[in-house]
Amino acid sequence: MSESPLLVVEDYHVGFRTETGLAKAVDGVSFTLNRGQTLGIVGESGSGKSVLNRGFMGLVSSSRMIESGSVLFDGQQIVNQDRQDLWGKRIAMIFQDPMTSLNPVMKVGKQIFEPLRRHLNMDKGQARERAIELLTSVGIPSPAQRLSQYPHELSGGMRQRVMIAIALAAEPEMLVADEPTTALDVTVQKYILDLLRELQQEHGMAMTLITHDLGVARGRTDEVMVMYGGRKLEHAATETLFADMHHPYTEALLASTPSLAHPKHTRLFPIPGSPPDIVDPPPGCRFSPRCMYAQDRCTTDNPETTSLTDHEYACFYPVGSDAGAEALKHNQDAGQTATGLKIGRAKEGAH
């Protein structure tokens, strides 16, 4: 922890110009990532977790996108800079769907040779040799034969292993893994996550693991950041977060997840309502319209981030505090929250 962090993100914003106004996909997010560490980023669809990562990687640059704030990668400012010289060489990325991120009309071998020849200036023979090594390291059987196959000839798990081999070809210092196992079966998911952890330890690589699966985040990360509506709501060491969560959104996410611990037909607790409109977000705390703890203040003021050792959260009435318990009781007695959300025995529904 003493050496300088690999990635320092400060007050980072990504906006998209749309017909109805500026969509604030990432709205003032700050975090640091140390070398060799894994940061899990969780949240619902539209929480900004992917855009955050694609933003600082420079993958969403277009005339409609605006970014601001500061992102230091190894001490170098990369916001609004050309980041192409980092791609593949220093930061690599793997995506959810390995079929659409591999080129379907190019043989697997050629796709692995590309980063090797481009970033490491290898000749054909060296690249071929290294490619076989890489495929072996990600657990692909008969790697020499795979080089002359096309992506469609491989299973989903195999394709994701090829993606990982390509991403790690130039031994990058950081890997952005955007839902890398969401499309895969649980047994393959376990294999890929084990593999990533192994390779990460071998190379001392930092990783951001974007996932909607709290179980994956819990088992595979050092720290977890919870995002909602483009903002960071809570961030803590993984163990701390799951043992003692403070943000009502984190609590609600966990409560809505079915668990093997519960007997059949256990009633789940969905989060009522839907994620906020990021063009015209609700005033105050963005989660307030769906929050069981919401008070008047939550609808007008945006809560500042409270920083404890290894734990940050942005909430006026945190879970586990007296203020939180009082707020919840107050709402339960009233039968509704300050935003008019009915709570208690009321039936949940789409409206």
Partner: protein
């Protein structure tokens, strides 16, 4: 595993649906045959939810579709409420169709984007009039749209793209319910949804099941979800059933080696099997040329000679509703902590 046998079937008069020796094969060109589902038998009682789990390619969707004759199975019988669906003529089968409905994984692509939501929901009723749904009338379209948690007035004006993914899945459920079906096949109905929305849909399905007396075949690769919604669970591998029985029992005390591997891979902090280090070696064998004997033997740590030659039959495990097709079931009661 990968076994056959019918020891786990209940008496015909206790069940609504009884599937025996179901086989579904597809031509693969060059005279080859894909053995998608091979000799699968199971039954479902009225009002029960049977969860089908297994990895991609294990035949769970093909099984469910063959049950409702879409397309009909290659062989085997599907007895629904005393009638063997595989014996019916095309017209007789058509008359049975309103009893079976289906909900798909991708709620948005399974709805016609150019039609208004209320029209999508009421179409079945327009086709069948009173003959299919019996008591259902035009007014009940609104009732059903309301029952799934949507506003019937808005549904008259709006099209699917104006609804969120979770709401589109509600529309799919309403469409399935409008003809008062007996059986609904849910094929990965919540896989494309966020957990918060997934919980809404699962709760809603449970409510609809109670309210309309539905019997569900619930297909999912997510074991936590299957455990939550199912009364009974069937674990499938390469076109065969490995283990079947009461959901709580199977998740608490899995004895088939494949079920245990599957369970140990679930990233759930409450997973008692997470510590087991077994992983699945190798690739799924091709269903064109499935392994002889137990189909799982090529990847099973417990495999012996008999597993390579003789297919295991389902046998009762303990004295409850728990059946397994394996020569060497794994019987250490509680998983070791280390």
């Amino acid at each position: 595993m990968a076994g056959s046998g019918k020891a786990h079937l209940r008496n015909a008069d206790e069940v609504l649906l009884r599937v025996e020796n179901l086989v579904k094969e597809f031509p693969a060109g060059g005279g080859k045959v894909v053995h998608a589902v091979s000799d699968v038998s199971f039954d479902v009682a009225e009002g029960e939810t049977l969860g089908l789990v297994g990895e991609s390619g294990c035949g769970k969707s093909t099984t469910a579709k063959a049950v409702i004759q879409l397309p009909p199975p290659t062989s085997g019988s599907v007895v629904f409420d005393g009638t063997d669906l595989t014996d019916l003529s095309a017209e007789e089968l058509r008359q049975q169709r309103p009893q079976f409905q289906m909900i798909f994984q991708d709620p948005i692509s399974s709805l016609n984007p150019r039609r208004r939501v209320r029209d999508i929901v009421s179409e079945g009723l327009e086709i069948w009039g009173g003959s299919g749904g019996g008591a259902f009338t035009e007014g009940r379209v609104d009732e059903i749209i309301e029952a799934v948690g949507l506003d019937p007035q808005e549904a008259r004006k709006r099209r699917p793209h104006e609804y969120s993914g979770g709401q589109c899945q509600r529309i799919s459920v309403a469409r399935a319910l409008v003809l008062d079906p007996k059986v609904i096949i849910c094929d990965e109905p919540v896989s494309a949804l966020d957990v918060s929305v997934q919980a809404q849909i699962l709760n809603m399905l449970e409510d609809m099941k109670d309210r309309y007396g539905l019997t569900l075949l619930f297909i999912s690769h997510d074991l936590s979800v299957v455990k939550n919604v199912s009364d009974r669970v069937a674990v499938m591998y390469l076109g065969k059933i490995c283990e079947i029985g009461d959901g709580d029992e199977i998740f608490k005390n899995p004895v088939h080696p494949y079920t245990r591997i599957l369970l140990s891979a679930v990233p759930d902090p409450a997973n008692p099997f997470a510590g087991e280090s077994e992983t699945l070696d190798g690739e799924l064998p091709s269903p064109i040329n499935p392994p002889a004997g137990c189909r799982f033997h090529t990847r099973c740590a417990y495999a012996q000679d008999i597993c390579r030659s003789e297919e295991p039959q389902t046998e009762q495990e303990g004295d409850g509703d728990h059946w397994v097709a394996c020569h060497f079931p794994v019987r250490n009661d509680a998983p070791a902590a280390d």
